[in-house]
Every structure is written in C-alpha cells, then in structure tokens.
Symmetry: C2
Subunit: 196 residues, 2 copies
C-alpha cells in the first residue's frame, strides 16, 4: 500500500470507519472491516490508534463537527423570519432525507457513548456542539431579519433539537416522509410565534 504519514492515516481511518459504520452499522464496524475498507492491513489500526475505542472517539468528534457545518450551510440567508425558519428546517430535512443511514449512525454512537462512564463525556460534548450550532443559526436569523426571540436562545435551541431529533428518529422507523414534514412544519409555525 502507498506510504502515508501517520497523521493522515489517522484521518483516513476515521473516514473509513464512518463509511463502514454508516453503511453497515456500528456493530459491524470492526478493526478488520475498517482496514479492509482502505485496502490496508489490520495492524495499521493499532499502529495509528491506541485502541479501537480511541478511533471511535475521533469518529464522534468528526461527525459532530460535520453536522454543525452541514446544518449551518443548509440555511438560506435573507428574507423574513418566517421563511428563514422554514428554510432552516427544510435544509435540515434535506440533509436527513439524503443521509438516513448517517443519521442512524449518530443515534448509534450516542447510545454507545452513553453506555460506559469513560465515553459518556463525548455524548455530552456531541450534544453541546449540536446546541451551539442551533443557537448560532438562531442568531443568524435574528441578525438577518432583525427579529428578537421571546424566550432565551438556549431554550429555543433545546426545543429545536428535541424536535429535529424526535422527528428524525420517528422517520427512520416509519419512513413516512409526508407526516414527518408536516410535523416539522407544525413545529416551525409554533416556533414562529415566539419571534418578535
């Protein structure tokens, strides 16, 4: 295999792990399977990472970052509050529909992280970055449209995250897109009533 710097290999391994986990599930994501994805030998995994767990830590961090970036890029700036909020939800939903397996993976990673004490902080971290991302979007909308929120941005972010998480999880199970979008729109309307 081509010679690659260890640090670059680490990034490659993280990406390979994400690919495999997205496609086949977290349970099927073994060190062998990850190495196979890159066409390299298993030994490299333990040369680049102290353990498989350390690799998964990195996976969670990378995904959390990517989520925030993707969500923020999805919103279309400009327009009034109503269309901004709707656009934000719509952008988010496009992401979900385009990458259902990736969404499922985030839930798998969350439950995995929550199951033992040492990885639990990662779940908190992941959630904190999600909330921060949403708060940033709300601030964007507020700045772009000159509106204010009746409730603190922090609480608004928590409500939004609960909604998106809940709707996504439900849709992953029943795949009823029409209902999911309808629910999302209903919540968007409710949210708009909190704008001044």
């Amino acid at each position: 295999m081509a010679r690659v710097a260890a640090q670059e290999r680490r990034a490659d391994l993280v990406q390979a792990a994400i690919k495999v986990a997205t496609r086949e599930g977290l349970a099927a994501t073994t060190t062998r399977r990850i190495a196979q994805e890159l066409g390299i030998s298993v030994g490299i995994v333990h040369y680049c990472f102290r353990s498989k767990e350390e690799l998964l830590h990195e996976v969670i961090r990378v995904i959390a970052e990517a989520q925030v970036v993707a969500a923020r890029a999805a919103i279309v700036p400009g327009g009034d509050v109503a269309s901004s909020v709707r656009n934000a939800f719509f952008g988010f939903w496009q992401l979900v529909e385009a990458t259902p397996q990736a969404q499922l993976l985030t839930y798998e990673l969350t439950t995995w992280a929550l199951r033992n004490a040492e990885t639990e902080p990662l779940a908190k971290e992941q959630r904190a970055s999600q909330l921060a991302g949403i708060e940033a979007i709300l601030a964007d909308i507020s700045a772009a449209t000159g509106c204010e929120w009746k409730v603190p941005a922090e609480q608004l972010a928590r409500m939004t995250l609960a909604i998106t998480d809940g709707v996504t999880l439900g849709w992953l199970a029943d795949r009823d897109t029409a209902s999911a979008v309808q629910t999302l729109e209903a919540f968007a309307d409710q949210l708009l009533k909190l704008a001044v």
Copy 2:
C-alpha cells in the same frame, strides 16, 4: 434447576434479557449472560427460542407494551385540559427519570432493529404502538374534559412522540433535568393552544 414449562421459561428469558440489557447495555446482552441471570444453562435459550434474534423480537414487543401501559396510567382523571396534558407529560417524565437505562435501551433496540431488513418491521411496529398509545391518551383527555383538538389526533400524537423522544434523548446525554422539564412544559403550553 427447577423444571419450568417452556412457555413460562420464554417469558422468564425475555424478562432476564430486559434486565441484563437495561443494566449492561444491548451489546453486553449475550445468550450466556441471559442464562446466567436466571441461573440456568445456555442450552435452554435455544430450546425455548429458535435464535437470539427471536428472543430480542419478543423483548421489543414486551417493552413497547409496557411503555404504553405506563404512559396511560400516568394521567389523572378529572380536571381541565391544561392539567390533564401537564399531568400526562409529568407522568411520562417521572418514568423517564426513574428508569433512564430502560429508556436508553429502547433507543438501542430501535437502532438495532433498523439495521437489518428482517428486523426493521419491528421498529415500525414499536413506533406504531407508541403512536397508538399516545392517541389513546389524547382521546382520554378529550373525552374527560370535553375538549376538541384543532389538528387531527394522529398528527398531535406524532408531535407529542417527537417531543418526548427528543427531550428524553437529550436528557440522557446531558442529564440537565431542569432544562428538560422546562422544555417539556414549553411544549405542553404550545400543545394546549391546539385545544378547543
């Protein structure tokens, strides 16, 4: 070990599996560990169930039923719409706070079921029964207080499930009870505006 009828043993095994999975996580729930929980030999698991998967199918069904029963038992009859809705949310939240690991298990089971084609219907079934349970609760409230809902009960149920799922998942990560309750209350208020 004491001689037990196969059908009874099946129920015992399901309960043992739930105990182990709740306490130690779905990944740690092996056939050996389940048998150990009952103090019986591993062979019995495959004497009573065709496979471990069949056992987990049963686990999902039993848990889904229990959830609905618990949620429905939470509402206090009598009183106005506002207190009924609040009571329902409050009762649900008490269950979550009392059994965080059990809630985590439901998410683990959902992601597990969604990961392969043959168990996927179970995830749908689980969700359908949750929705049906919430619809029943909404109907109860409607009947008891003589109120009507501005939107179809089905959509209302979907919104409620999204909220409870989202808030629960978030709380499992950050354990910020005050914020979770606040978010739940905010949603309850929004929901009340849909009552006539």
